[in-house]
């Protein structure tokens, strides 16, 4: 028996070894290779020769992306990516929760309606993009919907819009960060005072005072990322992309929430009902709290989809439309049209780092020390 188990463990390792090796090469090996390329100048005149001349240039590609005069587009890409992610994840969660709650309380037609809300998820982003590109034509499509009931046609330009809202100065990002820290520290200090935690209150208070000092002396405004001011902001053209993406993925959050609602034991509901809780109170105090872990997973899943978004925008607005562009698209253009392979590799690496900021904490807390799989 013992011997048997030992042999089985050997088999087990042999069975999983190919997968581990493949992933070691295809994920970690290739990431390392991309990072190496991003430290070079591959992309000079004869970039596409069979033996291109490639020199090591350190981090200058990164410095240029964040501070170079011509890479204003990349910085707007980052802004777009963040804004899109926040809106897409937030609205998908909200819509999915509403849909799940509705479907959970239906009298009839649950299967049909659930399928209707879920089917967009089965489409490719290329199909969604193609269809929504047609629906969002400013002089047609959904702008004409109001006219079907006798109202005036909508005037919003959707993807063609060049308006920016919530504009900020890229050069002053450190300043904004300090102000945000100040606000956070002040709030935390206040909370600690209310809870009578003296030492915490003192620590946060000190942090707030330091941040306030940095702001008041004008020091934070002097740490500028660029030698000139450069306005970036929320491109209103993104609403169209958000709309299509939420349409496509809210069925997924609905399915997650629905599955979560179904795990709430009926006894729990019954008990609350017997205690005189109303339907809404049961929803608020019994069902919603049980959906929290699902929400965390959904944020991670949707968040990484949003940060990586490529095909949808490519098919909807084309690769050259800066108001809806994101780093993944610029990487494609720099690499394959501009022949600047090293810059493309740098953008790919930056994208990976940003996605990792979201993913690594999640993966580590969820799966570390859990090799036994007794979840």
């Amino acid at each position: 028996m013992r011997f048997r188990l030992k042999r089985d463990e050997l088999y087990a390792v042999l069975v999983i070894l190919p997968s581990i090796l493949l992933l070691a090469v295809f994920v970690y090996g290739f990431i390392a290779q991309t990072f190496r390329v991003s430290l070079t100048d591959w992309g000079q005149t004869a970039a596409l020769s069979l033996q291109p001349e490639i020199n090591y240039v350190g981090l200058s590609n990164y410095a240029d992306l964040f501070g170079g005069f011509l890479n204003i587009r990349f910085r707007q890409d980052l802004t777009n990516m963040v804004m899109f992610t926040v809106l897409f994840v937030g609205l998908s969660l909200a819509t999915g929760l509403v849909l799940a709650s509705l479907v959970d309380n239906l009298i009839w037609g649950e299967t049909v309606l659930r399928t209707v809300f879920l089917y967009p998820m089965s489409l490719s982003f290329v199909v969604t993009g193609t269809v929504w590109r047609w629906l969002l034509q400013p002089r047609g499509g959904i702008n004409l919907l109001p006219t079907l009931v006798g109202l005036r046609a909508g005037q919003f330009l959707w993807l063609s819009s060049r308006d920016q809202q919530l504009t900020f100065d890229w050069a002053l990002l450190p300043h904004y960060a300090v102000v945000a820290l100040l606000a956070l520290a002040a709030v935390m200090a206040g909370a600690a005072v209310l809870r009578r935690r003296r030492r915490q209150a003192a620590a946060w208070g000190a942090a707030a005072a330091m941040a306030a000092a940095v702001v008041a002396t004008g020091l934070s405004r002097r740490w500028q990322l660029l030698p000139y001011s450069e306005a970036h902001g929320f491109s209103t053209a993104l609403w169209g992309v958000v709309l299509a993406a939420v349409w496509q993925m809210s069925g997924y959050t609905m399915a997650l929430y629905l599955a979560g609602l179904r795990t709430v034991p009926d006894e729990l509901r019954e008990a609350a009902y017997v205690d005189g809780a109303s339907r809404l109170q049961i929803y608020r105090h019994v069902e919603l709290p049980m959906l929290m872990p699902i929400t965390v997973s959904a944020i991670v899943i949707l968040g990484h989809i949003a940060l990586k978004i490529f095909d949808l925008i490519f098919a909807m607005a084309g690769p050259d439309h800066a108001p809806t562009s994101v780093p993944a698209i610029t990487m494609f253009l720099k690499t394959f049209r501009g022949n600047q392979l090293a810059v493309g590799a740098a953008i790919g690496t930056i994208l990976l780092v940003i996605v990792s900021l979201l993913i690594v904490p999640y993966v580590v807390t969820q799966y570390r020390g859990d090799g036994g799989g007794r979840a």
Partner: protein, 274 residues
């Protein structure tokens, strides 16, 4: 717990139906536009029904798409089966035969499903070129199998965690080894998880675009690339791309319509739970 229809239920029902109608708007527009003749397609009249049905777009789209649909079928079926099979074995190992370091290996595997593929694209095609796998379906199948491993491994591992160890120990006492336990205990219980994994992988692979466009020669291109060719080329009117979208979407939509229940049921067991 049954409740009588109340005002609340009626309101819920009405709202849900209205939302469903809204979700179907793109379908109406797609079918409507695909059935118009090119001359009739015009922004101001986009919502009006066609004066007469023009099925020619579907005939054209089908004749153009048939070979690419075949490519996509081969690709998606092969890659789904292989990655699901390997995922099942990996899940079994990670769940029931933890080895030294397996606690570190799991997060490292899972991380692979979240990476942006822009970060590995250039080394990937260079590797495929060097191994002479570039351009054909086998290469693309390999890529989809590898990048599908994290999710299939993770899903199967979660499913197998539900199977009590006592069951395995009983089989071991009866003399079953590593393979025997898998064959007689795990496999018979793997039907529903396999379906969930297969649905997920099939739709992901069928719908994938970035690898499809950069790693294939024309004779091996999947349907997404063919659709992008149709919609993004010099195609003039919208009827063809719309008909093409319908054809490209049919298989995966059918899966969701007919097997959606399994998918919804499996989601909680799978992707959420660690």
């Amino acid at each position: 717990m049954k409740r009588r229809p109340s005002l609340f239920s009626v309101a819920v029902q009405t709202l849900a139906v209205l939302l469903a109608v809204a979700y179907l708007i793109p379908v109406y527009m797609t079918l409507n536009t695909s059935l118009k003749s090119p001359a009739e397609i015009n922004l101001p009249t986009a919502w009006q029904l066609p004066s007469e049905l023009n099925w020619a777009s579907y005939v054209t789209a089908w004749t153009r798409f048939a070979p690419y649909i075949k490519n996509s079928l081969i690709l998606a079926v092969a890659a789904t089966l292989i990655s699901a099979g390997m995922g099942a074995l990996n899940g079994y190992v990670l769940c029931k035969y933890p080895f030294p370091g397996s606690a570190v290996v799991l997060p490292l595997i899972v991380f692979g499903m979240f990476i942006p593929y822009q970060a590995i694209l250039v080394p990937l095609f260079q590797f495929l070129q060097r191994t002479r796998l570039y351009g054909g379906l086998p290469g693309l199948i390999l890529v989809h199998v590898v990048y599908g491993l994290p999710i299939t491994t993770l899903l199967f591992r979660s499913f197998y965690a539900e199977i009590p160890d006592e069951l395995l120990n009983a089989a071991r006492i009866d003399g079953a080894g590593f393979a025997g336990v898998f064959r007689h205990i795990m496999l018979p219980l793997s039907g529903p998880p396999f379906l969930v994994v297969a649905i997920w992988q099939f739709t992901q692979i069928w719908n994938e675009f970035l690898f499809a466009v950069t790693l294939t020669r024309p004779d091996a291109q999947p349907i997404t690339v063919a659709l992008a060719n149709l919609a993004g080329g010099q195609a003039v009117s919208w009827n063809l791309p719309m008909a093409g979208s319908v054809l490209a979407a049919l298989p995966t939509v059918a899966i969701y319509v007919f097997l959606g229940r399994y998918f919804v049921r499996g989601l909680l067991a799978g992707s959420i739970k660690g």
